[in-house]
Amino acid sequence: MWQYIIKRVLGLIPLILVVSFVIFMFIHLIPGDPARLIAGKKATLEEVQVIRENLGLNKPLIEQYIVYLKDLLAGNLGYSIQSGAPVSELIGERIMPTLGLTFISIVWALVVGILLGVISAVFRNKWPDHIGMVTAVSGISLPNFWVGLVLIQLFSVQLGLLPTGGAEDWKSYLMPSFALGAGIMAMIARFTRSSLVNTLKQDYIRTGRAKGLSGNAIVFGHALKNSLIPVVTIAGLQFGFLLGGSVVVETVFSFPGLGRLLIDSIQMRDYPVVQAEILLFSLQFILVNLLVDIIYSFLNPKIRYE
């Protein structure tokens, strides 16, 4: 299995290189002179020239890319146009709240989603299934920013229980993580249901029944593990949805995280920050999917024993 993991990790290197190249090209794809963009509107011609020299923007693209990669490996993500601070510092300040928010969201979404999916599959075509699946399809269709706004109206404006924004204490995480996780919870519920329903049709389930096992022993002892293997993969893909959603939800709740920083930076044309953030989100997504593959290989004996 270690071979499998090493193979997967090595297989990611070309992908990461291509993705980083695409993101490196970001600043060159924006119409206009990159040096001028980085220098900002008020800069003089001389200042622009200095920036061009300093950043090597007059060198060939491929050379610039190699420098960019070297900087990345050294943890240098460039400097903010707005504040002049290192981008890594700006991100460092914002990363913990966002990681916390996404972690809480994915955990509750997985727990509730799997539970709902299992209940629906076990009571297939009966009322718990219908309720579960109506909840799920609604969850998928809900705009997360609207969920956030409705929550604010209910719990902050009407009931006065929770803060409308910020990330001071655990209370300020409740509504954002609910709004962020709802869609993913719904997708995981649907997927768990269909995966479990499919597993329950397999021959080995019939074997289990022929042995005299009870319904619970069949579902929890035999079917769940098999049906969660594909759910793990889907959860990895949904993580991308979560990262995108965090940008929106953080905006709704004025949550001091990376997503909010991204939108602020786009509005202020702070391109180095935007570039670094997109890289960070993409790498995070790639790494989560690697992690998912590794978990998958642990769950699946066919891969584990190769």
């Binding site: 329950l200 049709k201 397999q202 021959d203 080995y204 389930i205 019939r206 074997t207 289990g208 029944r209 022929a210 042995k211 005299g212 096992l213 009870s214 022993a217 002892g221 035999h222 593990k225 098999n226 293997i229 769950l299 699946n300 004996p301 066919k302 024993y305």
Partner: protein
């Protein structure tokens, strides 16, 4: 008269479809004695597998439903039993092995765990005891290095090995009746013979009854004492094995026998019977086999003959019955 282990009386099973309930097993009756091997033969779709699942009451995950009849096992009708009670029969008194050894074992659980399950459940023993018991059973079905195999996963084993494990699992609690649904169909020819011999050996040692479901008369000839031939959800002929091969009555049985290749080779199956099994939505009115029968009479298209027994040999065919009174006539 030997002790009857299993008695199936007028069993009717139907499937829910878009066009309403469709009967696939039409009130069949038969029995299996203690220590006897009875075969049920027929083409796919004749209702033989549904019959076996009905006896085990394993139709939950299918659209099937038993609508009438009795399944009397050791003087107890199984059909009205609550599900909980039925569970204590499955795997303990009645066991079943299936056609697909590749998919009938759970791919993510170790063989050991899957073998221990019924032992712990039915024999109420501790996990280590169940483990020892499982190893003993594995050895008894001719599996080498049983201890190691307990720690392995199904995909690490060959089809023949997996079927041996299925058999080990099925006989681990010493059931009185083993239902084997096409146990050798998915296996290589050489392995088929080994598995059949193994089943015969186990049967002789433990004196359990076996209900062997198969489409292959070759398998039947190898192991069975008595044979039931099914067609379109009905029993069309029943007799001892010797009688059936020497004096088959029903034209369908004759066709089956004519199409038997040398044991195991599997090709040219049912070569000599033209046409296909009628679909449940399009059943002939009279004898269900009439459209494919080469000895067909006018009567056959009008009314279905009944199953008539004579000297322990039953047959459902107008050729052997008085068409006016339905009484037996001489051949």
């Amino acid at each position: 008269m030997m002790d009857q282990l299993l008695q199936v009386k007028n069993l009717k099973t139907a499937f829910r479809t878009d066009h309403g309930m469709q009967t696939v097993v039409h009130g069949i009756s038969f029995h299996v004695n203690k220590g006897e091997i009875v075969g049920i033969v027929g083409e796919s779709g004749c209702g033989k597998s549904v019959t076996s699942l009905s006896i085990m009451r394993l139709l939950h995950d299918t659209p099937g439903e038993i609508i009438d009849g009795e399944v009397i096992f050791k003087d107890q009708n199984l059909l009205p039993l609550p599900e909980k009670k039925m569970k204590s029969y499955r795997g303990k008194e009645l066991s079943m092995i299936f056609q697909e050894p590749m998919t009938s074992l759970n791919p993510v659980l170790k063989i050991g765990k899957q073998l221990r399950e019924p032992i712990q459940l039915h024999l109420k023993v501790s996990k280590p005891d169940a483990h020892q018991h499982a190893i003993k059973i594995l050895e008894s079905v001719g599996i080498p290095r049983a201890k190691e195999i307990m720690e392995e996963y199904p995909h690490q084993l060959s089809g023949g090995m997996r079927q041996r494990i299925m058999i080990a699992m099925a006989v681990s609690c010493k059931p009185s009746l083993l239902i084997a649904d096409e146990p050798t169909t998915a296996l290589d020819v050489t392995i088929q013979a080994q598995i059949l011999n193994l089943m015969k050996d186990i049967q002789q040692q433990s004196n359990m009854g076996i209900l062997m479901i198969t489409h292959d008369l070759g398998v039947v000839a190898e192991v069975c004492d008595r044979v039931i031939v099914m067609y379109a959800g009905r029993i069309v002929e029943e007799s001892t094995i010797v009688e059936l091969f020497e004096k088959p009555k029903h034209p369908y049985t004759k066709g089956l026998i004519a199409s038997v290749p040398k044991i195991g080779s599997g090709v040219n199956r049912l070569h000599s019977i033209p046409g296909t099994v009628p679909s449940p939505t399009n059943m002939p009115i009279g004898c269900k086999f009439a459209p494919r029968c080469k000895d067909v009479l006018d009567m056959c298209h009008i009314e279905e003959p009944s199953l008539i027994e004579k000297d322990g040999h039953s047959c459902r065919c107008w050729l052997y019955q008085d068409q006016r009174q339905g009484a037996i006539i001489n051949e």
